[in-house]
């Protein structure tokens, strides 16, 4: 059973006066296996939030269907399995984190004792104890996001759907969220999150899907999508005599100089190793040996271009 599955999910927002209807999501078919960390990528307006809101049954799909843990998302009890963190989560400003979690626990159908246990668990996990009594009104973005995460985890759902969980956070906050996602992954949860911060995605996702203008152009394992072959190696060497340098340059596909030394570019890993051995033999020092792989960012850019 897939943790999340969508079939031909399409959303057409009814047009306003003077503006036609917008097809924001076009026949999206996706499957996410249990315990996967899935990165849902796309530029602004690609339809990420639209998809997520349909999964959480805040929006009705125009056509198509969506399933979470094998159940139609339109069914009420399907939502037991979903923990949702909206893009910039908003909570009642006059409640404090403790009251907030209690409220959501009640909506989740937890008893008083269960809610108290949830508070203990989540306050520790998200470090909420020091702000337990403060009103949400005065919270910073990072505090709100932490609380949002705690709210999503109330009731310990299997599937976490996170809409840009790292946007607007500082590097430390982003790392915290990354670690949390990996921790949840370790606990067997399925994590679906949207993002346009590709570095974050690259670090924690096992699979990604790329959405371009409402259409899914790619879905697959990150290591399969990216050309993981080393397609270029950069070697920096110092202390080479002029003739030795000229000899090495003759065997490379490109040369550049900087104050670090001479940069040699070689388009093949084995050849690069041979070049490095040559450098050492001619009495030079290896300053750097860097295999260059395609990054998700380069891939993503290529994807955008093929569509437009």
């Amino acid at each position: 059973m897939d943790a999340i599955a969508t079939r031909n999910l399409t959303k057409v927002y009814r047009g306003h006066i003077g503006r036609g209807a917008v097809r924001s999501l076009d026949s999206l078919t996706l499957t996410i296996a249990p315990n996967e960390v899935f990165g849902f990528l796309g530029r602004n307006g690609a339809g990420k939030t639209t998809t997520i809101k349909i999964l959480c049954s805040l929006l009705r799909a125009t056509t198509g269907e969506a399933f979470v843990m094998g159940q139609d998302t339109r069914r009420r009890d399907t939502r037991k399995h979903i923990g949702y963190l909206p893009e910039n989560p908003y909570f009642y400003e006059y409640l404090n984190p403790r009251e907030t979690l209690d409220f959501y626990g009640e909506l989740h159908g937890l008893t008083r004792a269960e809610r108290a246990a949830e508070w203990d668990r989540l306050a520790d996990l998200l470090d909420l104890r020091d702000i337990a009594g403060q009103r949400v009104r005065g919270f910073s973005k990072g505090m709100r996001q932490r609380l949002g995460f705690a709210v999503a985890l109330v009731g310990n759902p299997h599937v976490l759907i996170l809409d840009e969980p790292m946007s607007g956070l500082d590097p430390l906050g982003r790392r915290l969220i990354r670690e949390l996602i990996l921790l949840l992954h370790g606990q067997g949860k399925t994590i679906f999150f949207s993002s346009h911060v590709l570095g974050d995605v690259e670090q924690i996702c096992s699979r990604v899907g790329i959405l371009v203008k409402g259409k899914l152009t790619t879905q697959g394992r990150l290591d399969e999508l990216l050309n993981r072959r080393v397609n270029r190696v950069e070697i920096i060497a110092a202390g080479l005599s002029e003739p030795a340098a000229a000899a090495v340059a003759a065997r490379s596909d490109g040369v550049r100089e900087s104050e670090q030394g001479r940069h040699f570019f070689v388009n093949d890993l084995d050849a690069a190793n041979a070049v490095a051995a040559d450098i050492l033999q001619s009495g030079g020092t290896l300053v750097e040996f860097t295999p260059i792989r395609e990054s998700l960012e380069e891939y993503f850019m290529r994807e955008q271009e093929t569509v437009s």
Binding site: L58, R79, Y90, Y94, F103, E106
Partner: protein
């Protein structure tokens, strides 16, 4: 229970609304000010104070129901607090019912406070309170329950401004529904007459809840009548809340 959780928060939030206190101040001013009008009609002042205070309780209760009620669901969508709520394993009607119940509880408190102020004032002025006075307060509250259901329905489907206009018009017209049936003879058989008759059947007859004159004059009202009015209001309210739930069921938020 989920409905209670939503209701409790709605109540908590509404109690913090400054509009509430401004309206309560005006209500108090109207109750105490009624004495001034009492002076003009010598010997009638207690009667006038009772009549006008009950009118104040009704009008300011309705204003609170309108100001808070037409915002209830709209604000949750607008401020996006609704996202994390409706994604829970709850029915959308439970949310509607919870919002409604929270405001109904607040109005019960507000009505009780305003009525208590009016009652104490009547006694201080040397008047007597009889059962009709309290029956009148009960029916005023019952009318507020109906008005609130309409406000909540509109807050789920339209903007607070439009909602407020519709609720307020309904309140005004609902107290004068007889104009629809007592049309001059030149309307007989016309299309406008049929339309107005249709409006008459749709708009709740709010004068059913108005026993202020009896309360002011100390004329007893049959308990049967009060029960009938309560049943009338309950049915109307239930229908409005059902429509609100259905309208909200498939709404994109």
């Amino acid at each position: 229970m989920r409905v209670l959780a939503v209701a409790r928060n709605t109540f908590r939030e509404a109690v913090r609304d400054k509009v509430l206190y401004v309206l309560l101040l005006f209500a108090a001013a109207a109750i105490f000010g009624s004495k001034a009008l009492g002076w003009i009609s010598i010997g009638q002042d207690i009667k006038i104070v009772k009549d006008l205070s009950l009118a104040a309780v009704s009008v300011f209760g309705v204003l609170i129901a309108i100001f808070v009620g037409t915002n209830l669901v709209y604000k949750e969508i607008d401020k996006r607090t609704i996202y994390t709520i409706l994604c829970r394993p709850m029915h959308r009607w439970e949310f509607i019912l919870g919002k409604y119940a929270g405001l109904a509880a607040l109005l019960a408190l507000v009505t009780a406070v305003m009525a208590a102020v009016a009652a104490v004032y009547v006694v201080v002025l040397g008047g007597r309170l009889d059962v009709t006075f309290f029956q009148a307060v009960l029916l005023i509250y019952w009318q507020l329950l109906l008005i609130t259901a309409l406000a909540v329905l509109l807050s789920a489907v339209t903007s607070p401004i439009l909602g407020a206009i519709i609720v307020f018009s309904t309140y005004v017209v609902g107290h004068a529904t007889s104009i629809f049936t007592e049309l001059p003879p030149q309307f007989d058989g016309t299309f406008s007459k049929r339309v107005l008759e249709a409006v008459y059947y749709i708009i709740p007859n709010l004068s059913n809840f108005d026993i202020r004159a009896e309360a002011a004059n100390g004329v007893p009202v049959a308990p049967g009548y009060v029960l009938w009015a309560i049943a009338y209001g309950a049915v109307y309210t239930a229908v409005l809340l059902t429509i609100a739930s259905l309208a909200f069921q498939d709404k994109d938020v």
